[in-house]
């Protein structure tokens, strides 16, 4: 019944606007979408080191530098867990404080520092996510790409495998670009 109601309303709004186009005030903000992406990454990536430990150990999402999400990250993880692990958000100024995170988001870090920090994180099983241009070329695992007001992402499978992360093929298929090692199966 609900399905029919939703569908009927959906068709009605289609009639008004053609293919649904979001009104300006209804468009989600960039960081809401990115927060949801991070949550999706948590579900489509496997951290073998985390699987070995007790489910009381939290799943950590770290934000390096200024936190651009506002309260979007807290909003996204509310009531959720990753394979039974509760989710915790940590915001810190320096990379050493985030070494035990599963995901680290680096937003306003300039190019110059990125390589050094990514080098530090490479010793840990961390899914590094960033927005700087060329983020995945520098050794990051996921880079957000924004163009024409849409947010997509790119993957660096070479680094992912090197740190031991298992990235689902679903994520690889959706990525707009993937750097993977030679001879590996294609997407």
């Amino acid at each position: 019944m609900k399905l029919v109601l939703f569908t009927a309303l959906g068709l009605a709004s289609l009639g008004l606007t053609g293919v649904p186009v979001q009104a300006q005030s209804e468009k989600p903000s960039e960081y809401n979408v990115k927060a949801v992406y991070l949550f999706n990454f948590a579900n489509f990536v496997t951290w073998p080191e985390l699987d070995r430990v007790d489910s009381t150990v939290p799943f950590r999402i770290g934000v390096l530098g200024i936190n651009p999400f506002g309260d979007a990250l807290e909003g996204v993880i509310e009531g959720e867990n990753v394979d039974g692990h509760p989710i915790v958000i940590e915001v810190a100024d320096s990379a050493d404080k985030l070494n035990s995170c599963q995901i680290v988001y680096m937003s306003e870090t300039g190019h110059s520092q990125l390589e050094t920090i990514l080098g530090q994180f490479a010793d840990n099983q961390i899914l590094t996510v960033g927005e700087a241009e060329g983020f995945i070329e520098l050794g990051g695992v996921v880079g957000f790409v924004t163009g024409d007001k849409r947010i997509q992402f790119e993957l660096n499978m070479v680094v992912a495998r090197a740190v031991g992360l298992d990235i689902s093929s679903r994520l690889q298929r959706v990525a707009s670009r993937v750097i993977s090692s030679e001879g590996s199966g294609n997407q």
Partner: protein, 702 residues
């Protein structure tokens, strides 16, 4: 030179093709999800602050599939302001979105409003475009590239703007660098580089059709179709046609400046997750332009206006291979061939260029990046005599060898970075030329940065400066300049000994983001040019053949020294997600020193062909869900030596998107004020006055 191409990163065009979109199940959940958002959001407070994480928004976003998250339009992205702050140069980026929102229908129009760049429309098909001075129909200090292919002609070291075109919907961005880009891009990048970058084929999938009509434009149509050939290859093909009407002289008479062009082209990209990426582009064009030329006569009235239709055609093919050696090192090899055939009213030119470039980029240690490359270009042409203009040799073949090296160093992480490099070239006219450049950027924190640069740039001689012969003008007898009894015919001649022009540029820039919604970018420069083109006149020599006259040769020389200085400001204000504003201001001052006798003033550098002040204010408003409004006010101060007064124009555009795939737009240009003249060509003395125009366009994606 194709150095520094940054591969475009764009969201895909609105076409639901590709991975994960074919099963009906995801389709229904999309509809539910989007309907949910529409319904819930309709109840939301209008103008809710972007960034406020409404629980409902997040709940609905979480329900969406990954594919749909990627297709979602977000309310605003401020990344543009961030990315520029680490470039130690005066860079300005015109995004594809800026171009589409402004309603421009040609590349020269899209360049208006860039600080430091002068865009003056001579008539419907001719433009005078330059950066930081020395403007002219044959301006020669700006390098223009399209997808890494250089589009300037060695005939006069300038650009034929009447043939540089492509579907503007497929432009990813236009990067404009003011100041010498010579270390990377080579000779001719003296005052600036304009790099037009098109979107990757994978971002322009499915079909796009645009049609437009308006006052001054009989018709404009573009059709583009993109698709995939297997998993790793995408391509697009396009066809474009336009027909610009002729304009009017200030007296209201019809001018002969119509512009008609047919064009077709393609782009193919191969490559995916692996280490290699291949790109091929090509195009072919064929068109006509109306041209007028004042040819001198040895009897009264001493000049006649020749009016005619020029035929121009040409094309190019380009291939580029990028190979990732490791994730800190990559190699790019590029080859392209370019052919032009021009049958202008006053000259004929058939030209073929072949260019091969290699570039290697690698990062040997943390904080260092080294780029180096080598290139070879073969330029061959035929410029047969037309009786009006000819060359000392009809055919020529020139070789250009070049190499460059550049190091980008991070001296203090996040605070201080430096860039040092040089380009080395060998050309057939002047031999070896070196163009070094050094730049430093200091960012005390995330909100400010300062950069300083010193560079040397060289403009090597053009074919015309080397060998042209033009009957320039006839000075009638019994006039103040020629009090004698016989007319004096002047003839401009190129000189085999003509040398390069040199520039030492000193630039400084400052960027500041005082708040999250405001950013300012300031640049100031001081340029010292030596060996700038001048003309030396010989004593008149009698010529017996009737009608008897005296002939005076004006030989091209390098005797002038020029100093220019100025500053440019760009201010961006994005107070809300639906309103944005940008203001640009340029101030320019030039002093020419040396012999200032200019008989053929069009070809000798002079002060007063560049405006002292230019100002642009652009505003964009997303009014309701489907209405987009943009307006631009532009002021250009007078061109004193061309007797052209200052002008202010207002352009406005309203676009309506009834569905996600259809757009209708109305564009009005020169809405305020009387018609105005912008420039006068060195060749033709009848300027064209631009009046109010209205243009309507429809775009459909399928």
């Amino acid at each position: 030179m194709m150095a520094n191409i940054v591969y475009p990163r764009n969201g895909a065009d609105q076409c639901r093709r590709g991975k994960g979109q074919t099963t009906p199940q995801p389709g229904w959940s999309v509809l539910q999800g989007l309907t949910g958002i529409l319904l819930f959001s309709c109840l939301a407070i209008f103008g809710a602050q972007p960034g406020y994480a409404s629980d409902d928004d997040l709940v609905n976003l979480k329900r969406m599939s990954l594919e749909d998250l990627g297709n979602l339009e977000v309310s605003s992205v401020s990344k543009k302001l961030e990315r520029l702050s680490t470039a130690p140069a005066a860079i300005y980026v015109i995004t594809g979105e800026d171009i589409r929102r402004s309603g421009h229908i040609s590349i020269p129009e899209a360049l208006r409003g860039v600080p430091g760049v002068q865009v003056a429309r001579i008539d419907a098909n001719k433009w005078a475009i330059t950066a930081r001075g020395f403007n002219g129909n044959f301006a020669n200090k700006l390098l223009v590239l399209i997808d890494g292919r250089s589009v300037y002609t060695p005939l006069f070291s300038g650009v034929y703007w009447d043939v540089q075109d492509l579907p503007l919907e497929d432009v990813d961005r236009i990067e404009v660098i003011r100041g010498p880009g010579a270390a990377l891009w080579g000779a001719n990048a003296v005052n600036g580089v304009i790099n037009i970058i098109t979107r990757k084929a994978s971002a322009t999938q499915c079909g796009l059709a645009t049609a437009g009509i308006g006052t001054g434009v009989h018709g404009l149509g573009t059709f583009r179709y993109g698709s995939e050939l297997g998993e790793n290859t995408s391509y697009r093909v396009y066809g474009k046609y336009f027909d610009h009407d002729h304009g009017k002289t200030p007296d209201g008479l019809a001018a002969n400046d119509s512009w008609r062009m047919k064009r077709a082209g393609f782009r193919l990209d191969w490559g995916q997750s692996d280490r290699d990426e291949l790109t091929f582009t090509g195009d072919f064009y064929d068109g006509e332009t109306g041209q007028t030329y004042n040819a001198p006569m040895l009897t009264a009235p001493w000049a006649e206006t020749i009016s005619g239709t020029a035929e121009i055609r040409g094309g190019h093919v380009l291939g580029r291979w990028n190979h990732q050696l490791s994730f800190t090192s990559d190699l790019t090899v590029q080859v392209y061939g370019d052919r032009t055939e021009r049958f202008d009213v006053y000259a004929r030119e058939t030209r073929s260029n072949l260019d091969l470039d290699i570039q290697h980029r690698f990062a040997p240690a943390g904080g260092t990046e080294i780029l180096w490359g080598a290139g070879y270009r073969l330029m061959s042409d035929k410029v047969p005599s037309t009786g009006l203009i000819w060359m000392s040799t009809d055919n020529s073949r020139n070789n250009l060898f070049s190499a460059f090296v550049q190091t980008n160093l991070i001296l203090i992480p996040e605070r201080l970075r430096m860039s040092v490099g040089s380009k080395f070239e060998h050309n057939d006219y002047t031999g070896y030329e070196v163009q070094p450049s050094g730049r430093i950027l200091w960012s005390p924190n995330n909100r400010h940065s300062v950069w300083v640069a010193v560079s040397r740039a060289v403009r090597t001689p053009s074919r015309a400066e080397n060998s042209i012969r033009v009957n320039a003008a006839v000075i009638p007898p019994g006039t103040p300049t020629n009090p004698g009894l016989l007319p004096v015919a002047t003839r401009m001649e190129g000189d085999a000994m003509y040398g390069s022009e040199y520039l030492i540029a000193r630039e400084v820039g400052y960027r500041i983001r005082p708040g999250a919604t405001l950013s300012l970018d300031l640049t100031a420069y001081h340029n010292s040019y030596t060996d700038i083109r001048s003309v030396s006149a010989s004593a008149p020599v009698p010529v017996g053949a009737p009608p008897t006259h005296l002939q005076m040769l004006l030989r091209a020389n390098n005797d002038l020294e020029v100093r220019t200085h100025g500053f440019e400001v760009v201010a961006d204000w994005l107070p809300t997600s639906w309103l944005s504003s940008r203001a640009t201001y340029s101030h320019f001052h030039m002093r020419v020193e040396g012999d200032d006798e200019s008989v053929a003033s069009g070809f000798v550098t002079s002060e007063g062909v560049d405006p002292r002040n230019q100002f642009t204010l652009r505003t964009s408003l997303d009014l309701l869900s489907q209405l987009y409004f943009g307006a631009c006010v532009r002021y250009v101060s007078e061109l004193s030596s061309l007797d052209i007064s200052s002008y202010t124009t207002l352009d406005a555009r309203v676009a309506w998107r009834p569905t996600a795939t259809t757009e209708l737009a109305v564009v009005g240009k020169n809405l305020s004020g009387p018609s105005h003249v912008e420039f006068q060509s060195e060749l033709n003395s009848t300027p064209i006055a631009f009046e109010r125009t209205v243009y309507i366009s429809a775009t459909q994606r399928f």
